[in-house]
């Protein structure tokens, strides 16, 4: 069993200050009441229809992600440090993308091997030498953060293509305010409800320079059978923009239009939740039914902004990940605020030798994998599984990276059997527009519900928690606001 950092209770049994009220709430609330709150939360989620489809699971095409009613609490000062690190990182990654699709100075300088970029399946050669509106590639980033001790935050993964989960951040808060209003009132929790407004401002700031008038923004979804469809519709609604599918769009003379009841209407910005490969059957996968024929040409003609840009996948590739500290140093001349998890690039013979020797202790990931699939967790793996990975590593070392098995921090989690610590991570969302970078204080906390499990992905039995960024000095009780009790006029009973 790994010795790990619990965010509520220290090894000496002391409660960390920011969790004081949570700890008291958990001890003082009878277990039946906690159970009824869990049931109430589940009912709320089911009624609003937040569901999540799991690929390859025919029987459960719509399923709820389990929600845990114990909030994950982060102090304001911890958050400020995290926030600065996120801004720094995303800024550098945007500069990196503009560079590798432009002058390629980082490759010329020899900071990283050329082929790791140019021969990468996520590098889009079609984008080389193109300028995109405002030189912003990653408008929406979801950066996965873990902590292993009091001091540091580590970045586990950068999600720079179509990161999802922000709807859970928003809905978890709504549900939490309803199931635990007392606890909520005791803290000063930074609001997250302004995220849609921040996103809209970001999208409006990246309208192509040529567009005049009120910008038309749409959200492009693969459709209602996509696992994140709920989120797509939720966001479109909060943003007040049309939720479109590929068949709702058409391209004429390199200009994108949507089909409306009043005829074709010009579109300026597409917040797309479709992968590059499916965007345009003429430019990418020819048999894609989800995309729009001619969209890529309209894009490179500068008539429409795609958020995120085409080709951002290269920057969240797990092989590139290990170079992010160098990327930050190269473009910003700053030391990275957030740490990277030490990573062995198996493409390097020395690293490979080390990895093969220490397989039972390491986590091995496919460089292009996601969702926790195609991953070996050494300490939890059976011998046969380890040997299988050993063969895979030997035959295609460049497809893998390895990292030490990190003791992800734990947070108290509520079950029928009581309160128990479970491993968590955090995905804050970072928005980049031509007018700056915005981070809403909070994010999606994912929790591995199975005891001892380190896999937090929702498709593999992970759940979520509400994430509270609280004022550090919020230990005093707040007065309750008294409700105005104005009498309502009764109906006169006699004439």
């Amino acid at each position: 069993m790994l010795q790990c950092f619990d965010e509520m209770t220290l090894t000496d049994g002391a409660t960390r200050a920011v969790y004081g009220k949570v700890a008291r709430w958990l001890t003082e609330t009878p277990s039946e009441l906690l159970a009824s709150r869990r049931a109430q939360a589940e009912l709320l989620f089911r009624r609003i229809g937040i569901t999540f489809a799991i690929y390859g699971d025919k029987d459960a095409s719509e399923r709820l992600i389990p929600f845990d009613i114990v909030p994950r609490v982060i102090g304001r000062s911890e958050w400020m440090r995290l926030d600065a690190g996120l801004v720094q990182r995303v800024k550098a990654l945007n500069l990196f993308l503009a560079d590798i699709y432009g002058p390629q100075e980082i490759l010329k300088s020899g900071v990283m091997p050329t082929d790791i970029v140019l021969a990468n399946p996520y590098y889009q050669p079609e984008m080389a030498g193109r300028r995109i509106p405002h030189d912003i590639y990653v408008h929406i980033a979801g950066i996965d953060i873990i902590r292993i001790d009091e001091g540091d935050f580590y970045v586990l993964e950068d999600n720079l293509r179509t990161p999802s989960g922000v709807s859970y951040m928003l809905e978890n808060r709504e549900v939490m305010m309803r199931v635990a209003p007392d606890l909520f009132a005791e803290y000063r929790v930074a609001p997250v409800e302004n995220y849609p407004e921040a996103l809209l401002a970001t999208l409006r700031s990246v309208v192509p320079q040529a567009a005049g008038g009120e910008p038309v923004i749409v959200l492009l979804t693969p459709g209602q059978y996509n696992s994140a469809y709920y989120e797509h519709s939720f966001l479109a609604d909060k943003l007040g923009v049309e939720l479109v599918e590929g068949r709702d769009l058409l391209v004429r003379d390199d200009v994108v239009y949507m089909r409306t009841t009043e005829g074709p209407k010009r579109v300026n910005v597409i917040y797309r939740r479709i992968d590059d490969a499916f965007l345009d059957p003429l430019a990418f996968l020819p048999d894609s039914l989800l995309g729009v024929a001619g969209l890529f040409n309209a894009y490179i003609s500068g008539n429409v902004t795609l958020a995120n840009a085409v080709g951002t996948g290269i920057a969240d590739d797990k092989a590139i990940y290990s170079y992010v500290p160098e990327i930050i140093q190269f473009y910003l001349g700053e030391k990275p605020i957030l740490k990277n998890v030490p990573t062995w690039r198996c493409r390097e013979p020395d690293a490979l030798a080390h990895v093969l020797e220490h397989l039972p202790e390491l986590v091995v990931k496919e460089v292009n994998g996601s969702g926790g699939y195609g991953m070996l967790i050494g300490p939890h793996a059976a011998r046969e599984e380890i040997e299988l990975f050993r063969d895979k590593l030997r035959s295609k070392p460049e497809n893998f990276i390895a990292q030490p098995t990190l003791a992800l921090s734990t947070c108290p989690t509520s079950f029928d059997t009581g309160i128990a610590p479970r491993h968590v991570d955090l995905r804050p969302f970072v928005l980049s527009g031509s007018d700056g970078i915005r981070v809403v204080p909070g994010g999606l906390t994912r929790v591995a519900l199975k005891e001892g499990s380190l896999v937090v992905n929702s498709c593999q039995g992970g759940g979520t928690k509400d994430t509270w960024v609280v004022e550090d000095a919020c230990l005093q009780n707040l007065p309750c606001g008294a409700l105005a009790k104005a009498a309502r006029a009764p109906q006169a009973l006699d004439q």
Binding site: R47, Q224, F234, T260, T261
Partner: protein, 317 residues
């Protein structure tokens, strides 16, 4: 708005209205079939329920005998009946899910809540036909449709999304009222008055029940059931919310709102005005003289044509 959104809203409203009509039809038929001196022989009431629901052909292809259990199952739960109540609610939700952004929270809540409840009834139905259970199911369907309609009415912005949704509702409703009249037109003919007797009374009452107009009838006419008055109520009375004329007053109103908002009127508006004008110029006497059946058949065709015109004009541009 997106054409696809308008299309989804239109069909969502149609399916919810259709589910409601099916529930009322089954309910009314069950009462009728329980009348001891049915002169038409056992089973025919259920045949006619199938006809009114437009499900007779599909039923004959897959089922042998039209009796209560098989017809009710077919109309309520059957997956091979494209217009079973179950499929209506399922399709309504699929349409709703596709346009979540165009629905208010209340509308989604009504429809998603109904869908969740439906799953429980489907599981219950797997245990076999149970009259009490299916009566509860019909109540549930009527309430679900009412909830959805009320949510839409109370919470939607009065813009094109609302108008397309209402168009779907009224076109479906007009179709349903016309269908029940068409299936039962023989018992509404004036000659049957001489035959008289309780059986006809129950037949007439059943028609009114299917469109939830039995109480309304008494308030409007203040006399016993007369076939020509029933026809009058369901075709020409603007104060009767399910009458053909009331449906067309609404259809014309909402189509005109759309035309005005978009600054352009087209074939759909012209056609709807024409249908309404003809209804307004009609009297019960004339309708019976020239043939109730012919009148209704022509109306159903006109109504279907309007649906097609709306699609051509707005939905698949």
């Amino acid at each position: 708005m997106l054409s696809r959104t308008a299309d989804n809203l239109y069909w969502l409203a149609r399916y919810m209205e259709r589910a409601d009509f099916l529930a009322r039809t089954i309910d009314a038929t069950r009462r009728l079939a329980a009348v001891p001196t049915s002169k038409s022989g056992p089973g025919t009431e259920w045949e006619s329920a199938l006809e009114a629901s437009g499900a007779a052909e599909g039923f004959r292809e897959t089922r042998a005998v039209a009796e209560e259990a098989s017809v009710v199952e077919y109309l309520m739960f059957s997956t091979d009946n494209p217009s079973s109540i179950c499929n209506c609610i399922e399709k309504a939700r699929t349409n709703g899910r596709a346009v979540r952004t165009a629905l208010t929270v209340e509308m989604w809540d009504a429809i998603n809540g109904a869908w969740i409840e439906l799953k429980r009834f489907v599981m219950g139905n797997a245990r076999g036909y149970d009259r009490e259970q299916s009566a509860r199911f019909l109540e549930f369907v009527k309430k679900a449709s009412l909830d959805y309609d009320g949510a839409a009415h109370r919470s939607m912005l009065r813009n094109d999304a609302y108008w397309f949704s209402r168009l779907g509702l009224y076109i479906e409703r007009a179709d349903n009222t016309a269908r029940i009249l068409d299936v039962k037109y023989n018992i509404l003919l004036p000659e049957t008055e001489a035959v008289g007797g309780s059986v006809d009374y129950f037949q007439w009452a059943a028609i009114l029940r299917a469109v939830s107009a039995l109480t309304a009838y008494h308030w409007v006419y203040r006399e016993s059931l007369k076939p020509w008055l029933i026809a009058d109520l369901l075709i020409l009375r603007p104060e009767m919310p399910r009458s053909l004329i009331a449906c067309y007053e609404n259809i014309v109103r909402f189509l005109d709102s759309i035309g005005k908002a978009y600054g352009h009127k087209g074939a759909a508006q012209r056609h709807a005005h024409h249908v309404l004008a003809r209804l307004m110029a009609s009297t019960t006497k004339e309708i019976f003289q020239s043939g109730l059946h012919e009148f209704i058949t022509a109306f159903v065709e006109d109504n279907t044509r309007l649906g097609t015109m709306i699609c051509e004009q707005y939905l698949f541009a």
